[in-house]
Symmetry: C2
Amino acid sequence: MPNAGFKSTRSKISQKISNQSKSELNPDDILMTSGAAGALNVILHSIINEGEEVIIFKPFFPEYKFYVDNHGGKSLFCDFKEDFTPSIDNLKSLISSKTKALILNSPNNPTGVSYPEKILIDICQVVSEAEAKFNSDIFIISDEPYRYLEYEDSNQPFIFDLHKNGIIASSFSKDLSIAGERIGFVALGEKIKDKELIIDALNFSNRTLGFVNAPALGQRLVENSINALADINKYKTKRDYFYSELINFGYEIVRPTGGFYLFPKSPINDIEFTNLLKKEKILVVPGTGFGAPGYFRISYSVDDSVIENSLDGFKKVIKSFKT
Amino acid sequence: MPNAGFKSTRSKISQKISNQSKSELNPDDILMTSGAAGALNVILHSIINEGEEVIIFKPFFPEYKFYVDNHGGKSLFCDFKEDFTPSIDNLKSLISSKTKALILNSPNNPTGVSYPEKILIDICQVVSEAEAKFNSDIFIISDEPYRYLEYEDSNQPFIFDLHKNGIIASSFSKDLSIAGERIGFVALGEKIKDKELIIDALNFSNRTLGFVNAPALGQRLVENSINALADINKYKTKRDYFYSELINFGYEIVRPTGGFYLFPKSPINDIEFTNLLKKEKILVVPGTGFGAPGYFRISYSVDDSVIENSLDGFKKVIKSFKT
């Protein structure tokens, strides 16, 4: 098998993306990877030179910092607005001649919020202007394992339809509910700069970082279930119920549109607040680690009974701050 | 699943090693990885600080250099003797206060030769003396995907029975003939320095390098076939036949004892010689890339018909140099 993976698997994925996007991909534009985490490391190893900068949008998946560090890059963090979309003004101030890439994550972990198309277009415009100004190429890496776990039919655009140097990192862990199998992919747009060179670099990186290739059984699995999707109505029902209950208790939450997270505001320091929840046997994650102090993350990818049994605890803790 | 993998799988592997070695391992001494390549990267990321040195024995698997580079280490290469065992004198001259680790590979790719126990003991003695002299800890990493593909019942000792700071990196690709599934492991000896700290570092590295965990299906597979082994008699028959034929043609070869490689001497520059073989439609790899110019590698992990059909070409090319 080539380091890129089985051609038959890559063919299925390139067809699916070609059908859904405005781009025409072929199997060589796809590299099968050890999940989205593997995809991101392979991409960053391939494009970053020592000291180049990568802009990450807050709130962010905490591993991004390590991934950038692994390959000698430097992370910069872009602020967010109340609705969890990026501050375009802050992005403008961060982008420079040192910027090599941006990492987008929509639908987002930890917020569950998707960036509206308008925001994606604004981001791409800032990037294009910077490319022109600094005579550089800036890659927008869209990490999108939750693309098909969207509840509002947003049909999020494909990044390479909006920006020439767009790269997708994705995974089947959520689509097929197979977390742990480590199967994902990189997809390049048809017009990306130095495409052949990037494909060679991705293959080389996949091999020499020790991934070698994506697990063969996982590749066969996704090849044969390319259009399958976990029952997202189950997630949607959980979201609707859990969100409504927490709002009723007095929590302030931006309503998530995808994924399986809620990211409420914390009435006090988020680490202190999550410790209070822990005393009620509720495990949630402080926002500080996501670059968003003052919030906390709840995962609702759990049994209904777990959600139901947590409600009294959530109610009790917030009531003590709402008198 | 913890980043280290399923406890049930780790338990089976630790039991197997405990039964075969002089050490008593428990499941927490095992970390399931994405093959031996993943294991080596996870180990090197966990133990190397920027600029520390790793000694690699020639002839070597070429990827080792990249693995060491990935984590800021510097590779040094130890010379070999005519029988493909390491030059202990050269090892003594290379080892220093900067040495953090050695990478051993026995049975060896590309030579197919196993290091005799006496050589392993000599290496360990040099390392122990250096540890005492420099008041340091030096890890010996034994990369041994071919351990169970031994034809001479050598019963190679386990590295942590010979050296306290011994670490095994291995894979099931060869044992079970499942190359491509990316399933392997790290095993630590019971007396390794700062064991808890190293286990934490291995778990962290497995996660943040983007491996996250070893593929779940692969873990289940090896858990349920822990004592299975590909039919090594098939390999042995191929080795015996191929080796005898080539020797008869006039090739000079150290007789391999394991794996599925032959590493003959080249009568001229190895790159030129392999190009002559290529004209006979025979694909072999020049020794230069393995740190051993003047040799070339043949893989006999192919159908018998491929071996048989190659013989005329091998004969023709060597005859032109043996008049």
